[in-house]
């Protein structure tokens, strides 16, 4: 049974030709998937569709057996924070919040993530600390504002935020493209290990094919997308 399912999905930006027309796909619980596509191939659009920010014109995305299109906009916002962790390319953090508060943001907005975070730790700070330690961030950084961290450190904080409260799905959008090659590999190892430990399905989107080797399953957007490139 797939955790994340794409079924006959078609999407077109208003007034434009369809940019996505996907074959049916499923991602199993705990499965890491590498989704590759060149710039402009609709990766960001797909990301917004998977997260339920955009709704397709036809077909749809189901997560945890819930078709996202059947939820109201507010319910999709709640569903997203309850069940998904997101990591972006860069500028992942709210600059004026300390590292720890950035990590705990999903717990502030989702009682479910909060409750799940508290299953493994005495308090929220403890849960965040455990993740930050696993992701190799020294404790003296935790109280610093996010803007004081290097890009590599920020990306690891973002990963901790995506993982806190053990969401079933983690979606990462080019999270390594702002890092140099060595740090890319280190970050990817950490992310894969933590997702595996948390049992989260990982959809890792990137234009960089070299990273694909670490994933058991690799999808090319060009191959799963039947829409004609404009």
């Amino acid at each position: 049974m797939a955790l994340l399912e794409i079924h006959r999905l078609r999407y077109a930006w208003p007034g434009q030709a369809p940019c996505l027309n996907l074959v049916d796909l499923g991602v199993a619980a705990g499965e890491p998937v590498f989704l590759h596509g060149p710039s402009g191939s609709g990766k960001s659009t797909l990301l917004n569709l998977l997260a339920g920010v955009l709704l397709p014109q036809a077909g749809g995305v189901s997560a945890l057996d819930t078709p996202l299109a059947t939820l109201s906009a507010a319910a999709r916002d709640r569903f997203r924070v309850d069940h998904m962790g997101l990591v972006f390319q860069q500028f992942n953090l709210i600059p004026y919040l300390p590292v720890l508060d950035n990590v705990l943001l999903p717990c502030r907005f989702s009682p479910r993530r909060r409750a799940r975070a508290l299953e493994s730790a005495a308090d929220l700070a403890g849960a965040a600390a455990r993740l930050l330690e696993h992701l190799d961030l020294a404790p003296d950084l935790w109280r610093r504002p996010a803007s004081a961290l290097s890009v590599g450190q920020q990306q690891r904080v973002a990963a901790a935020r995506a993982l806190i409260g053990r969401p079933e799905i983690v979606i990462a959008d080019e999270p390594t493209s702002a890092l140099d090659v060595e740090r890319q590999a280190a970050f990817l190892d950490l992310l894969l290990a933590e997702c595996a430990a948390a049992g989260a399905a990982l959809v890792f989107v990137s234009h960089d094919r070299r990273l694909a080797a670490r994933f058991p399953r690799v999808l090319a957007l060009g191959e799963i997308n039947r829409a004609e490139a404009a």
């Binding site: 960001s44 990301l47 917004n48 997260a51 920010v53 955009l54 906009a73 507010a74 916002d77 709640r78 997203r80 924070v81 309850d82 997101l86 972006f88 500028f91 992942n92 953090l93 709210i94 600059p95 004026y96 919040l97 943001l105 999903p106 502030r108 907005f109 989702s110 935020r161 959008d173």
Partner: protein
Amino acid sequence: MNLLHLMPLAARSAWNRRATLALTVLAIALSVCLLLGVERLRQGVKEGFTQSVSGADLVVGARGSPLQLMLYAVFHLGEATHNLGWPSVQALSAHPAVAWAIPLSLGDSHRGYPVLGTSQAYFDHFRHGDRQALRLAKGRAFRDGPDDLFSAVLGAEVAEALGYRLGDRLTLSHGSGEPGLAEHADKPFTVAGILARTGTPVDRAVHISLQGLEAIHLDWQGGAPIPGVSIPAQFARKFDLTPKSVTAVILGLESRAAVFSVQRYVNGYRDEPLMAVLPGVALAQLWEVVGVGEQALLAVSGLVVAVGLAGLVAVVLAGLNERRRELAILRSVGAGPLDILWLLTLEGLGLTLAGAALGVILLTGLGLAAGPWIAAHYGIVLAVAVPTAGEATLLGSVVAVGLLASLLPGWRAYRLSLADGLTPRI
């Protein structure tokens, strides 16, 4: 997501941009300070005006227009066409309900300032503003009767503008206004006292006794000296100096409850046509006429507030583009577009509230620092107090307009976060 989660975020986000926002808050604070200051001045001026006479129950004059009676009896402007006879004044003073009576006689002037003939009762009973008595800054009041005929007590402005000191001599002119008036040069007056500033028409008056006023007119008839007749000052006391008539009388009653019965008594007075006016009512009517400018002033300061709030909207809108990433992050952790709208709106509202509060503090500080000086020089009391109902309404409307204006950046952020989703195109 709810407001409880949003408010600390909005606050921390604002704190992160505090330098820019502080300037915006200051601009709003200054405009609110101006708005409330104008409102307070407006109230102060209005009260100063309508309380040019306070503590008096009735002003009595020859029958005519009540407003004109106020103009010459209180503001010493214009001239009375009819006087009331001295027997009437005596009858009024003797009325059992009347506690005191101040006779007022106008007609002469000194270098453009009105000369007010009156009695010692003026210094004892006249009240202005918040029932304040007249206070002599220097010297003494004149005495009624023939011994102190040529003493004058100057209003503060007269003394200051003309540079008079105690003991200086001045001559009065017959009539008022135009230059080249006939002088009462043979009977000069001596400055016996100078009144403290009141901020009322009292400051502009030269006060002399009714007997003194009678004395300088002994050898006059029909507004000109009688040819060939000259009565030297030292002989004036030998004449009967009881005034024949006065312009108006200010009455204080034993009990305020009697005011309408005394008014009826005066209005129905049989010996001559008289009229009694409630000064508070008449002054409020007069204010309707002269106070039109106040509304314009308030409108202008309202515009200043609008400019301040426009600045707020501009600053929040300008900062929005840099915050699109931040908004996308919030979207990824469960914030809806409406939450984003509220986040921005709350920020604007918070800034407006901070500006309004700071404005009130500024005004209070200003009132404490400059209030006594303004009260002494202009007779306007700038109350340092919690905002009145009227001011609270003004403050409330500033905040309400601030909230409405803040919906604009909120709406823009809402649109942006819908369009951007999780991936803003910056």
